[in-house]
Subunit: 403 residues, 2 copies
């Protein structure tokens, strides 16, 4: 093998962590490393619900890639993937083509709409900085319109969140806290605004312990979120959302439907002609695709099973671990050593419910309220420290822990 | 005459000034005075273009009526006029009826669209706090949408201002200054944004001296506003505006058309069955309507001619003078004295072109640039002082005179 060309697609949690670790392990004499990303920034996907709700400015969630990447070690290219030609080991971008020896696909997720009519046209998703900012603006625009309308205003102030998983619940918690501020800005009475959270299963946050779920529901409901369980979404229209519950069909009028109920891998990987399941590409224990030795998939693009045969969740935690792991493994491969198997280390789950509130299951304990919220900030700060050291932590960390 | 009931409709420049002066002149034993307004705030109509552009928060333009009105002297009612029954001397509001002996109609203006198709559906107007805020949000919403669109984005970042009069020019001047800030917020390249100013006549700011017009055009054009004179607007559509120039028809694609080319009296007065012209009610020299001795009309509702037979402009300056005048005249009438005739005192015109820039014609002099801008702030502050004394001036004045 000549000096190999390692191409990393996407600077999300997985890709950034892989690049940050590789630049320390792999010498430019050993391999050429290129990181390609659409924007010049990495962003905190786990903070996007705050940007969408308007409680945290999106600039806080952005991290300049150049602050993390040593460009003497890694070439940074801003471009957008069009397609991957596996047989030629070539990636076609909008403005160039690149040949690779080793390809790390960390292109993240897209919202999964499961073929439900109208969702892709009329619903909004929290998937990146642009879409999170759009949700904030969509809500504000509707509030601004409201005081200018003389005719029917049905549903203009209803906000519907489709999906009571992590993102839906976290977004609901932030949004409901922010409603009084938005109401003040637009001269609207608070009690005219309604926030609905629709969940298809019989409870939100499935996977969490019953007591944590109860805590979360109480927390949201006491602040005014209307949670509707067993609500199977049938369609989204220009003026609202239609769902079925216990055999009857209901419609909630709304101009702001936010769909958070599920993700799949970036659609680029669907056209790779590799084995897939659950909308993601199946990988071997070393995170290579089953059919192609040169392609590694991490984060939301990759489908991996743990020791018990369960699908690993699509979380930032796993993506980061996979990024670190793959850096070590590719370093080993380049240096002629054995590659190892990925062993996920899931220490727990932490879910924010808004400012100073949350739930967590960690080290077999369940935490509620401010303790969970503090833990979440700690985890966020820990990531920043691992990615960019003390400097990045100081610049982008969340330190308002007790205020 | 028993103790008369004076009802003031609308707390704009005219109504507020009338109320503020009357409460000092007329004792509660002499007359009952009621001020009815839709909102609990008065607003600086002459600052709305800044609220719409996003350079000044709308809260800065609001003045709490209760801060100006002495409620031991004047009863303040929040309600909306539905109709005026002249023969019964009764005003029907949404939530009540009131009988009057003297009625002061100061209900302000509405945009005049001259029957041009589509303007009332698709164009936005700067007419009050709500509509100014909506324009700000409309522009921001379109900018937020832009970075989320994959298909045609034609015109999403074009902003068209219809009308090169005072409001259109002042709005253009503020908006073009604010574009870099909005672009930064929404990650958009500045040169993708276009601001058009369409004027039907052969030059903007008609009425101003040629040198002032040239200065204003240079100022706007040098900052990127595209001024199109002799552009007769034919229609507004969901996706833009159509105009005719020199026999040809043109279309500018835009999702944000702001119509500033003309005003008429609040449509409530159209149904009064009084003599009208130019969309306003003709008044006698003492500002009573020609047909009805009990009804006084001031500000944008009233059509008055100066000594030379010219129609008085529809400006804040005139409205305030009429408010003061009418307070004095009604006070005279109540005390059994002679009423006098209104003599407008037009000291000049001042037009802002954005931060620290403007033009003014005053005391037969023409001023440009920062001198005009300072003068404009001085005039704004003078109004606040007259309305609410030193306290209101300190609270709401514009004091950032030199930067």
């Amino acid at each position: 093998m000549n000096k190999p060309h390692i191409v990393i697609l996407g600077a999300g949690y997985g890709g950034m962590m892989a690049a940050a670790k590789m630049q320390k392990m792999i010498h430019p004499n050993e391999a050429t490393i290129t990181l390609v990303n659409k924007h010049d920034y990495h962003y905190q996907t786990t903070w996007l619900h705050e940007n969408a709700a308007g409680t945290l400015h999106h600039d806080r969630s952005k991290i300049d890639i150049k602050e993390v990447i040593d460009r003497n070690r890694i070439k940074l290219i801003l471009d957008e993937v069009v397609s991957i030609k596996r047989e030629e080991k070539r990636v076609k971008f909008k403005n160039r083509d690149l040949y690779y020896d080793i390809l790390i696909v960390s292109l993240g997720f897209e919202p999964a709409t499961y073929g439900i009519p109208g969702l892709s046209e009329f619903a909004y998703s929290i998937k990146d900085i642009n879409s999170a900012r759009l949700i904030r603006e969509r809500v504000e625009y509707n509030f601004a319109l409201y005081t200018n309308e003389k005719k029917s205003k049905d549903g203009r102030l209803n906000i519907v969140i489709g999906g009571g998983g992590l993102t839906g619940v976290e977004f609901a918690g932030e949004l409901i806290n922010h409603i009084p501020t938005i109401c003040k800005e637009y001269d609207i009475e608070k009690n005219l605004v309604k926030v609905f959270l629709l969940e298809g299963k019989d409870c939100v946050l499935s996977g969490y312990d019953e007591s944590a779920v109860q805590y979360a529901m109480n927390s949201l409901q006491s602040r005014g979120v209307e949670i509707i369980n067993d609500a199977v979404v049938k369609a989204c229209t220009e003026d609202g959302i239609i769902y079925e519950k216990a055999g009857s069909e209901y419609k909630i009028l709304s101009k702001s439907v936010i769909w958070t109920a599920g993700t799949k891998a970036n659609s680029i990987v669907e056209r790779l002609n590799l084995s897939m399941d659950h909308g993601r590409v199946k990988v071997r224990n070393d995170l290579r695709s089953i059919e192609d030795d040169s392609i590694y998939l991490i984060g939301d693009c990759s489908l991996h099973y743990d020791q018990n045969g369960n699908v690993l969740p699509s979380t930032a935690q796993i993506a980061m671990q996979q990024g670190e792991f793959i850096a070590r493994n590719i370093n080993a491969k380049i240096k002629g050593k054995e590659m190892t198997d990925f062993l996920p280390d899931i220490s727990g789950m932490i879910t924010s419910l808004g400012k100073d509130d949350g739930i967590a299951e960690i080290f077999n304990r369940i935490l509620f309220g401010w303790k969970a919220a503090v833990l979440k900030r700690f985890a966020d700060n820990w990531y920043l420290f691992k990615l960019g050291g003390i400097q990045l932590l100081m610049k982008k960390g969340k330190f308002n822990i007790f205020h």
